[in-house]
């Protein structure tokens, strides 16, 4: 059980670093929102599950599973609302901005 907990925590830490590097290095708001949502949520899920396995079955581990369920629903919803606000206010993706080519030729 401890080995499973430590493995889940290491996977979660690696996913959090992937999310941080993606937020810093990707070229566009929408790609940054992708990097902020999926690896970050999966990193929180695996770190919280690892901590619940590390702690043992208790009321506290039930509350950690509650945090997992809540954040897995809430974090993509908040980022989706932010992307909806951005695209309503006219922020274009990087493949549709002027002077940027994605290798797919001309766009209408």
């Amino acid at each position: 059980m401890i080995v499973l907990a430590k493995g889940l925590m290491m996977i979660g830490t690696a996913l959090l670093f992937i999310a941080a590097i993606g937020v810093n290095r990707l070229p566009d708001f929408y790609t940054r929102a992708h990097a902020a949502t999926k690896p970050d949520t999966l990193g929180l899920i695996s770190l919280m599950l690892g901590l619940a396995f590390y702690h043992g079955f208790d009321l506290s581990s039930v509350k950690m599973l509650l945090i997992v369920v809540f954040v897995a629903l809430a974090n993509p919803a908040a980022t989706h609302a932010l992307g909806k606000a951005a695209i309503h206010n006219g922020l274009l993706p990087i493949t549709q901005q002027k002077g940027v080519s994605d290798g797919a030729g001309e766009r209408p």
Binding site: T13, N24, F29, D40, L47, K63, T79, A81, L82, A85
Partner: protein
Amino acid sequence: MSFLQWITVLVAVALVLPFWRVMRGLTIYDRMVGVSVVGTNTVILICLVGQIYGRIDMFVDIAIAYAMLNFSGGLVMAKYLDTTGGEPR
């Protein structure tokens, strides 16, 4: 250092990294994405610190409250920044 302390230090480093995006930005939405990542990492950091201190039964309630505040704050800022009233311009 024990295993949990190493994990806590690495999570703290991963928490500091998106502050560069919050400072630099280029648009307000990039800053809000960075704030969302920082808030999610803070929830994990609170639970890890509680496990190290041996008082996880108190710290996990703080983490639940922080997760709810992070979600509602991001959602309210997204609705505030949508200046078209929900219709595409």
